[in-house]
Subunit: 337 residues, 2 copies
């Protein structure tokens, strides 16, 4: 049975959604989850869910990293935080993967320095799934683990993103593209042009450049970019989705007829919400570190936590890290890095 | 009376929306518009709108640049295109500004090389307005005139974007921010950190770094970024907005109740559409070239063309180019560039 170490103090509403998500995941996916954090608060949440569950276990951590803590400072000063303790459980073989919906920067630092990097990986990368118009997912890598990446880094991101996509979405040969500002080979900036030449030489199914609009089109599976750009793409999408939802709500409340219409269309709105619900993807894996690590959104609900744990378990089952290490050692890949 | 040279063969549906937009603009804003392109097609459109209008005039251009033409090749080989002829009318003082909804890359090349650059500007920049949650607009500059910008270029973009914002949106002292992946001064990539230090030293009302989500929040007026990033931000926003609209339509059609609901909420959807309608902004000015130039979206309708012409006229009236030249010569700005 796979054991996951969950930072139970991670999410904005912690430990409530964290504990509930862990219970759901343990039951649904037949996993063992270590709930790491402040025992009184965690036990109070467990009590709300009734009878004891043998597949979750509380592990004490005396400190908590907040969303406002500067990442490197939190990593250095809060060695007894729930994120640190959870990462050490993974490092020491007590759990196979780390999950946290805490401060992204701090969790990245804790994971990277506590677990270490895979020997062939130069830099870790965050791989974020976006829902597409065709009903599937498109993974953008990197969405902010690094900035100022060089071509060799982007080639490694492509390899890692492709393996992750195969493991999680079951696609045999994911289509990998490079994020640019035009489809032609010559379009883009220096980084993209050089990476384009190198990706052509790898065994990856590289389909060329795509534009920002293709993230949601569903015509490619993995889109590679520098973390500065990926992070802005992710945040602007979150901002716009929220903006549209707010505007629509305002308009639907303005007149009685519109209100009535909104009530009648309620099922459509619920279905729409489901199809655009990021919590189904659960979290964003930090690829390149020695053990599978999944970072959830601070706003995670129980469903998002459950899915983050599911993704972590799939990374373990799919032996994603072994595959990353193997493929990065292929001569054709090493030549391109 | 201000005269605008319109590339009447620009938009995807040209010359229909282009001609109709020109007639609307001429009437509504008391302008003269030169309709440049293939006379038979333009006259056929004019005829559809009834009696002759003294404020529009047809100017013959024998060639047309298509959306598929590679920009630099179109610039070099199609010297008699409607975009070229329109730009020469501006260069020769027959019109005060250039408007085209044609191939963005080609129109940029034509404008830049036919009109020339303002003496103090190192690189031109495209300034795209985004609708915000507070009902105003937030301008992102640059959205793709350049890639691989250096800090000095971003400082110039900030100055140009700020002057444009004042002229078009009437704000006295626009708040200017830098697009990054965290608000703290130390966050971001090398380019952003260096630009941050320089912007602090200018007379601009620089409010610091913002994240992708802030583009729609309305807490700043002008957001500065490299054109590679700005173009991806623009395209991903267009892609997501379209994706959400499609999903919502699908869901609203799925059941009879939802369909009825949608009919009752129709006014809300129309109002919502108005509030998110990019055509109200009309087009994106290419700042830094010697005469005001506004580039519309290929999908422009008549309303978008009308507004692109309005923006061009406001750039002329607001003496935006003189102000750009003046402010870039201020010692505090020159020191930061």
């Amino acid at each position: 049975m796979i054991t996951i170490a969950l930072d139970a103090m991670g999410s904005d509403q912690a430990p409530r959604p964290d504990v509930e998500g862990a219970l759901l995941a343990a039951r649904e996916y037949d996993l063992r989850v270590l709930l790491v954090g402040q025992p009184a608060a965690i036990r109070a949440e467990l009590a709300r869910h009734g009878k004891r569950n043998a597949s979750v276990e509380v592990v004490v951590a005396s400190d908590v990293i907040t969303m406002r803590d500067p990442p490197m400072q939190a990593y250095r000063k809060k060695k007894e935080s729930s994120a640190h303790v959870a990462a050490r459980l993974v490092r020491d073989g007590k759990a196979a993967a780390l999950v946290s919906a805490g401060n992204t920067g701090a969790v990245m630092a804790v994971a990277r320095f506590t677990l270490g990097m895979l020997p062939s990986v130069a830099r870790p990368a965050l791989a974020a799934p976006f829902p597409t118009a065709r009903g599937g997912a498109c993974v953008l890598i990197d969405v902010g683990a690094n900035v100022d990446s060089r071509p060799a880094h982007l080639v490694q991101f492509a390899v890692m993103g492709e393996i992750y996509y195969r493991a999680i979405f079951g696609t045999r040969r994911p289509r990998v593209a490079l994020l640019s500002i035009g489809e032609e080979e010559m379009k883009g900036n220096e980084l993209v042009r050089e990476t384009f030449n190198r990706l052509k030489e790898t065994p990856i199914h590289f389909t060329g450049n795509v534009e920002g609009r293709d993230v949601f089109a569903g015509n490619v599976d993995v889109i590679v970019c520098d973390g500065f750009i990926g992070n802005i793409a992710l945040k602007i999408s979150e901002g716009l989705a929220q903006h549209i939802a707010t505007l629509l709500k305002q308009e639907l409340k303005r007149t009685v007829t519109a209100q009535l219409g909104a009530v009648l269309s309620r099922s459509a709105f619920i279905e729409f919400k489901k199809r655009t619900d990021y919590s189904e993807y659960g979290g964003v894996p930090l690829l390149g570190v020695k053990s599978p690590t999944v970072i959830g959104h601070g706003r995670s609900n129980a469903n998002a936590i459950k899915n983050a744990i599911r993704v972590a378990a799939e990374l373990v089952r799919g032996r994603v890290n072994e595959k990353i290490e193997q493929e990065l050692r292929l001569p054709a890949v090493r030549a391109a890095v």
